[in-house]
Amino acid sequence: MAADSTATLPQGRRYTGAIITDKIADIVLERPMHWGYMLGFALATAFTVLLGVAISYLFAKGVGIWGVNQPVAWAFALTNFVWWVGIGHAGTFISAFLLLLRQHWRTSINRFAEAMTIFAVAMAGLMPILHLGRPWFFYWLIPYPDVMNVWPQWRSPLVWDIFAIATYIIVSILFWYMGLIPDLATLRDRARSRGKQIAYGLFALGWRGDARHWHRFETSYLLMAGLATPLVISVHTVVSLDFSFGLVPGWHSTIFPPYFVDGALYSGFAMALVLAVPMRKVFRLQDFITTRHLAKMGTLMLVTGLLVAYSYLVEVFNAYYSGDRFEIAMIVNRYAGPYAPVAWAVILCNVLIPQALWSTRLRQDPRALFVLGIVVLVGMWLERFMIIVVSLTRDFLPSAWHPFYPTFWDLATLAGSIGAFALLFLLFLRFLPAISMSELRKEARQRPIRVTT
């Protein structure tokens, strides 16, 4: 067994199924916690507590603790919602769309990207519920034969939204869990303590690697990928329709579905990079999540970023081409009004700075990609804010105009949701394999992965 040990591997040696399994499973089963992990965990827990406090206070007092007003009834909660759902999209894109396109390099990044999707959509799902005013009645959106004899209004995109988001999170969880089943069986077989054997064993559902089971598993996995791909496009399309069905200048536009889906992928690739760079370093996974993987995600970020830039341009063009004075006023207000710094920060973060990705050297530099990822995430959050809030502050009648300023509780909810997302992700890294062992075993057999560090 000495040859299969992960302790010292000579450079250039080829990874076998055994070494891959040991290396990834040991992160969960054996390896002591890294100080960086402990620090991140402490920070994430602190911010999760803040989220809990913010939500408790909201439930006690109502949405008045936020900066919302008339006409800005949709502010931080909806901005956070759109931003978080968007972040999830890249995970599904990586795991489902790239699977259908037979992009083999996706194998070592799909698992954590799917986890990112689930946690991001969980944060997203929280926001509209918190914003409802009477959040305990959120289930009224679901069609069920109630004693009031009332049914949902099917002509409202807000009702479509609950179908889209609920479907998205359920399908994402099933897809993720299904991929995990064989890996949970591996953890069950490798765990040394009885407690872990039973826990992983129960979640592995008795998976034993039967060839017929594998055959059905692969078919099912491929079908789910085929279903998830159009689903992910539909989700942010429906989210965008929440806005474009409204008559507010800056919302009422046919460009919204592709504009939103593309921005979603953009922010999602940024988040994937922000998570992947520290993860591969702390857990020493550089041989599996290589600079090539990071560079490809960087390229995808550049492409989606260019499409986002194009959308900004088209919005301005459409306003002037339409000749509609309210549309033109909206653009002037956006780029020269009281919230102009937001719009120019969006241009800086989403259009100008990411052009650095044209450099091949920079695309292979994990630190630079990490920083660019953060810049794009900030830019995309501000973009959602610009579209939702800035458009609402000034609509048709100047007498109805009103600015929006966030309160402490707005900021606490946003920061807390980031903390809770990070906490969930860190727990995932601790208890589940961050890379699909079964897929990587197969991949390594077809295309050798060599030891470089």
Partner: protein, 178 residues
């Protein structure tokens, strides 16, 4: 079964997936109750065991159709019959706006059917299986490939089957107690 009450099966362990596929082909000439176990989906292995009818796509299709038709019918019934609302003078049966939920629920039920259909057809979840009685079977989820001939096979004979498995050049032949 009667002759081999203490034995569930004989296992041959291989280091290579190609060796397992070859062995599976060879075993099918004599035996019917043959299983193969691998740490990942080996292409062609299920076919080598005579696996033909994969019903997962059918289950998924049926799920999708039921979901789509069901939610469309619900929308039509509630909007036209049970709870008609005049929304800006639009027709009650405004089918284009029924499409987004129809699409979402089609995907939802199809995916749920694909997942649970796969599990059900595989006979999972299952708390225990006799194959786990073999201590060495732990490696099936790591790096080893196993061919399993069950004692319930009409052609099974502890000695002859062991000789046959040994002739396939495995790493070792393992007895799985019942």
């Amino acid at each position: 079964m009667s002759r081999h009450e203490s034995l569930y099966a004989l296992l041959a362990e291989f280091a290579e997936p190609t060796a397992l596929v070859r062995a599976a082909h060879a075993s099918r000439k004599t035996y019917r109750n043959v299983d193969a176990y691998a740490p990942y989906a080996v292409d062609g292995l299920a076919e080598a065991l005579g696996f033909r009818r994969n019903r997962v796509p059918l289950v998924t299709l049926v799920g999708g159709i039921l979901g789509g038709v069901g939610i469309y019918a619900l929308q039509w019934y509630t909007a036209v019959i049970d709870y008609p609302i005049n929304s800006g003078g639009r027709p009650l049966d405004s089918w284009p706006v029924f499409i987004p939920p129809t699409f979402e629920v089609t995907v939802l039920v199809a995916a749920v059917a694909a997942f649970f259909g796969m599990l059900a057809l595989n006979g999972l979840p299952r708390l225990h299986h006799p194959i786990f009685n073999a201590r060495e079977f732990d490696l099936a989820s790591r790096n080893r490939f196993f061919l399993c001939i069950r004692a319930s096979d009409p052609a099974f004979d502890a000695e002859r089957t062991r000789t046959f498995l040994a002739s396939l050049a495995p790493l070792r032949v393992i007895e799985v107690p019942a």
